[in-house]
């Protein structure tokens, strides 16, 4: 299919998945919206250079979620090189106490506070619902590693939940 025709359909079909991924990785609505814009801008640049065969073979959901993950990780890398001047983290426990939120909001806060190495595999597997093979491809590591990170991430979440 023509990239011109495909792209708006991709946006309509997959904005929800890209949004969920971005929101749960960043833990912030504002950062998630910026990330989503970045993802689709980068997806459009790629699609324009692709052959129709490559476009037809595309698995759009996993592709877009992978772009989201990479854009998020690149953002983290450049943030760590440039010390932040504003509040350290907008999901800081002191700023946003977890008590008093509804169950999903509380869970969302806890996911956003997971160490980055566990957060991405947990979000992609248990929130977005990608397969271990898709996550392994996205993270460029063996599926066994992904499984281990997911189970460590879930164990941390359970521990946090039992404390709060």
């Amino acid at each position: 299919m023509d990239a011109d025709l495909l792209f708006p359909r991709l946006v309509r079909a997959h904005t929800a998945d890209v949004w969920t991924t971005a929101l749960r990785l960043t833990g912030s609505h504002a950062d998630a919206e910026d990330l989503v814009q970045e993802v689709f801008t980068s997806a459009w640049s790629s699609l324009q250079t692709w052959s129709p065969d490559r476009i037809d073979a595309l698995r759009p959901r996993a592709w877009l979620v992978t772009i989201t993950l990479n854009a998020w990780r690149n953002g983290l890398r450049s943030q760590s090189r440039r010390p932040q001047t504003g509040p350290l983290l907008d999901h800081d426990a002191a700023v946003h106490p977890v008590d008093g939120l509804d169950e999903d909001e509380r869970l969302g806060e806890l996911v956003a506070r997971l160490p980055e190495a566990y957060r991405a595999p947990v979000v992609l597997r248990h929130v977005v619902g990608l397969s271990y093979a898709e996550i392994a491809a996205a993270l460029d590591c063996p599926p066994g590693t992904v499984k281990a990170q997911v189970s460590r991430g879930l164990a941390l979440l359970r521990k946090e939940l039992s404390w709060t």
């Binding site: 708006p8 969920t20 929101l23 919206e33 989503v36 996911v111 248990h126 359970r158």
Partner: protein, 249 residues
């Protein structure tokens, strides 16, 4: 552990904000047309959409609905557009009709063959694309013309001489046709009298009545025909310029 409750709907309007900043988009220019200003959208394939007026938001909305593309305003019109609007000659203009069906594309290409100052019937267009029975479908296809004025769907009128419908209304259609030098009263008079073709008894050639060759024939030498069979029976041959009885190429 069930984390599926963390799937959240995207904020309202996010899809629109994404599509407003990225993805396929056409350039558009504001130009003078035969019945007011025209917004003309185009891309590397050619002219894609024409809307009357000067309203950025209306154009953006229509191009999104009709073509699923964005728009951005530019100053430089596509090559040939301004002369084409001035002279009515569209040869050399390119069109982006990718979203149209093959039938619609054929109808629009046939409409492009009608010279400025002349008109043809819906039946003529149907015959020209090799679908003589599809007169109504021709009307619908012309009504969905994405590039009115530039592809002159206004030059297609009813066989009974009535000017008929138009995407921007019958009154605008009449204004444009008058501006192109068409004698609308004469078209209506001949149509209502059942005259489909006119011929010259000196050349023995028959034309559609608005053919520029037919208009040169003096009244004393003009003969009228109700159909092609009558003209042929009288020993007249069809004009090569106006192609009064088209057959599909």
């Amino acid at each position: 552990m069930d984390l599926t409750g963390l799937r959240t709907a995207a904020p309202a309007g996010l899809v629109d904000r994404i599509l407003a900043t990225t993805g396929p988009a056409d350039d558009w220019v504001l130009v003078d047309g035969p019945a007011g200003e025209l917004m003309v959208a185009f891309n590397e394939h050619g002219i894609s959409y024409v809307l009357a007026g000067d309203d950025d938001d209306a154009l953006a909305r229509q191009v999104r609905i009709r073509l699923d593309r964005g728009v951005r305003r530019v100053q430089k019109p596509p090559a040939g557009l301004v002369p084409a609007l001035r002279t009515g000659r569209t040869r050399g203009l390119r069109f982006d009709l990718r979203g149209r069906t093959p039938f619609e594309q054929a109808v629009l290409r046939a409409a492009l063959r009608i010279p400025r100052g002349e008109v043809r019937s819906y039946a003529w267009v149907a015959a020209a694309i090799g679908k003589p029975g599809a007169v109504r479908a021709v009307g619908s296809a012309l009504g969905r013309n994405p590039v009115p004025v530039v592809i002159p769907c206004h030059r297609v009128v009813r066989a009974d001489g009535r000017i008929g419908d138009y995407v921007w209304g019958g009154a605008v259609k009449r204004t444009i046709l008058r501006g192109e030098g068409l004698d609308i009263d004469e078209v209506e008079r001949l149509g209502s009298a059942g005259v489909v073709f006119t011929g010259s008894d000196t050349t023995r050639i028959f034309c559609v009545p608005t053919c520029k060759d037919a208009r040169r024939t003096t009244a004393a030498h003009t003969v009228s025909f109700r159909n092609a069979a009558a003209a042929a029976a009288a020993g007249y041959r069809p004009c090569l310029h106006c192609d009064p009885v088209p057959t599909a190429a």
